[in-house]
């Protein structure tokens, strides 16, 4: 009886016995898959950059494009180094405005979202005006703000803040309300106070929403700071990167224009990387967006 069963199962066992050799291969495969996972994230954009900048460099040499029309990447890097004294000053100014605006947007956006969440009538009264502020193009109100504010720096800050503020506000508002019905019931059962419900339930639930708003706002506050400075068009001591671009274009110092542009893009990239890192650090244990898919 037992023998007969074994006979029948033998082909099956043959299948299973092929397994060990296969699992030897799977080990190499996991390494390969780790590489394949890293590949699109890091290596692909770098490869693309090499191709892009290599092609750019080549095209300029091949077609002998003059540097005052389009400088080549190496010249831009050289200009960054050569003009570092001036550019770093401006970079610092732009960074200050950007981060102050972002900080203000976080503080005011989150506070306002909490107030809206706690007092519905206040939301009904005020939120539409936040929307109005958001949908009005910043370039069209920047001149007014520059006239009203008594110094340019403050005007830039206000402009950058207006642009950065809304995504944080609206995302946090959605987050504060996106709570599982059962968890709401649970807190109601425990007779949690409004404050405790906010602290232990609503705020943590809003965190992923807030963070995705922060990532958008990080880029927007830089854009706001740059755009406002363009509109203001005033330079002098402690002017930001946008003014360096204006100045360079007036003076036809095209490599410097590109150097300033490069710094702005690099800043934007760093802000995005920083906010993404922050988001990952805060959410990695629990939120889908930060979880690595188990394979």
């Amino acid at each position: 009886m037992a023998d007969a069963r074994q006979d029948i199962q033998l082909p099956e066992f043959a299948w299973l016995e092929a397994e060990p050799t296969m699992s030897g291969a799977t080990h190499r495969e996991t390494e390969a898959s780790a590489f394949r996972q890293l590949m699109p994230r890091l290596i692909a954009p770098m490869l693309f950059a090499v191709v892009l900048f290599g092609g750019w460099e080549y095209a300029i040499r091949a077609y002998k494009i003059p540097f005052y029309v389009l400088p080549d990447p190496l010249l831009i890097l050289k200009t960054v180094v050569a003009d570092w004294g001036l550019l770093s000053q401006s970079l610092l100014t732009t960074l200050k405005v950007t981060f102050q605006a972002l900080g203000l947007a976080v503080v005011l956006g989150v506070s306002l979202a909490i107030i809206f969440n706690q007092f519905r009538w206040f939301e009904m009264a005020v939120f539409p005006w936040a929307v109005v502020l958001q949908v009005t193009p910043i370039v069209s109100i920047a001149p007014l703000i520059i006239i009203w504010a008594d110094n340019v720096r403050l005007a830039l800050l206000i402009c950058a803040w207006i642009v950065a503020f809304f995504p944080i506000l609206s995302n946090t508002m959605i987050g504060l309300n996106s709570i599982d019905q059962n968890l709401t019931n649970l807190f109601q059962l425990y007779r949690a106070s409004r404050f405790d419900t906010l602290r232990y339930l609503r705020l943590p639930a809003a965190m992923p929403y807030f963070l995705s708003g922060l990532r958008i706002s990080g880029g927007l506050s830089l854009i706001g700071a740059v755009v406002a400075e363009f509109v203001a068009g005033t330079g002098g001591q402690g002017s930001g990167l946008a003014y360096r671009i204006l100045e360079a274009s007036f003076e036809l110092k095209i490599p410097r224009l590109f150097a300033a542009l490069f710094l702005i893009s690099a800043t934007g990239l760093c802000i995005f990387a920083l906010t993404s890192l922050l988001s990952w650090l805060l959410l990695r244990h629990w939120h889908e967006s930060a979880m690595r898919k188990e394979r």
Partner: protein, 274 residues
């Protein structure tokens, strides 16, 4: 004959201790109509005995969850009364009146197992160190010692349910409401959880109201099985399962168990088909 209204008090049999058969909460002629016009419960009367284990069984939509929510105070009855013995108070000698185990684990995804179990204690301002040691103890009681710092994402369905149960018992409630807590588990895990639940119940002496769709689970666990009739929901019959506790897996082989299962199944079929 089977129809009854007054709950277990009049005809209690097979209780652990007759002197204890005092109701802890009594629903008197309770009706519940939702704002969309659904009449979920009509004239439901039942008294839940103190330290008892009662299961609610009935076709889907007959108002079982509604009863638990009414008792928990998450919904208000449209008419009728919910009477607590000695009045309801939130905290009494450090014990909460009610704990609720929902059908889903309902954990805070951003908090690890320990923090999840600590939540009720934190909300009632128990000092941190004490809250922590009590939560650890509760986790140990549900067999999750060593998993304190795991996040819900890292736990299996059964483990999450255990965390949810630990959170419910950590405040030593007088009444434990459970709404199909094991419905999503495989049978072996469910049997194990049934065992553990009975142990906890005997250790803590709380009153359990247990909603389930499984005749076998209800019979295995309960002192009394309350069968409900649908549309509108009302109490249809009560079956006492007189077997003593502790009950172990062997009980599932006993004639009494099979008899009760058959009886309850028949009653359930009766109510479900009109």
């Amino acid at each position: 004959m089977r129809l009854m209204n007054e709950g277990v008090l009049a005809t209690a049999t097979g209780e652990r201790n007759d002197a204890r058969q005092v109701p802890v909460v009594r629903l008197a002629h309770v009706s519940k109509r939702f704002s969309n016009g659904t009449l979920a419960l009509e004239d439901f009367t039942f008294a839940f005995p103190q330290h008892g284990f009662v299961s609610l069984l009935g076709p889907s939509g007959c108002g079982k969850s509604t009863i638990l929510k009414l008792i928990a105070g998450l919904n208000e009855p449209t008419s009728g009364a919910i009477q607590w013995m000695g009045g309801q108070s939130q905290q009494r000698d450090g014990r909460r009146d009610i704990a609720f185990v929902f059908q889903e684990p309902t954990l805070l995804p951003w908090a690890n197992a320990l923090r999840n179990v600590m939540i009720p204690l934190i909300l009632s301002r128990v000092p941190w160190a004490e809250a922590k040691s009590r939560a650890l103890e509760a986790l140990e009681q549900v067999g999750l010692a060593g998993f304190e710092s795991s996040y819900p994402r890292e736990l299996s369905g059964g483990m999450k349910m255990r965390v949810s149960i630990a959170r419910a018992i950590v405040e030593r409630p007088r009444v434990l409401l459970m709404d199909e807590p094991f419905a999503a588990l495989d049978e072996i895990t469910r049997f194990k959880m049934n065992q553990d639940l009975l142990k906890l119940w005997q250790a803590h002496e709380f009153t359990v109201l247990f909603v389930t769709h499984s005749v076998y689970e209800a019979t295995y666990l309960s002192q009394h099985v309350l069968i409900m009739a649908p549309r509108p929901g009302r109490a249809y019959a009560r079956v006492a399962v007189e077997a003593p506790y502790p009950r172990d897996e062997g009980f599932r082989g006993e004639p009494l168990y099979h008899e009760r299962c058959a009886e309850i199944s028949a009653l359930l079929a009766e109510t479900s088909h009109g």
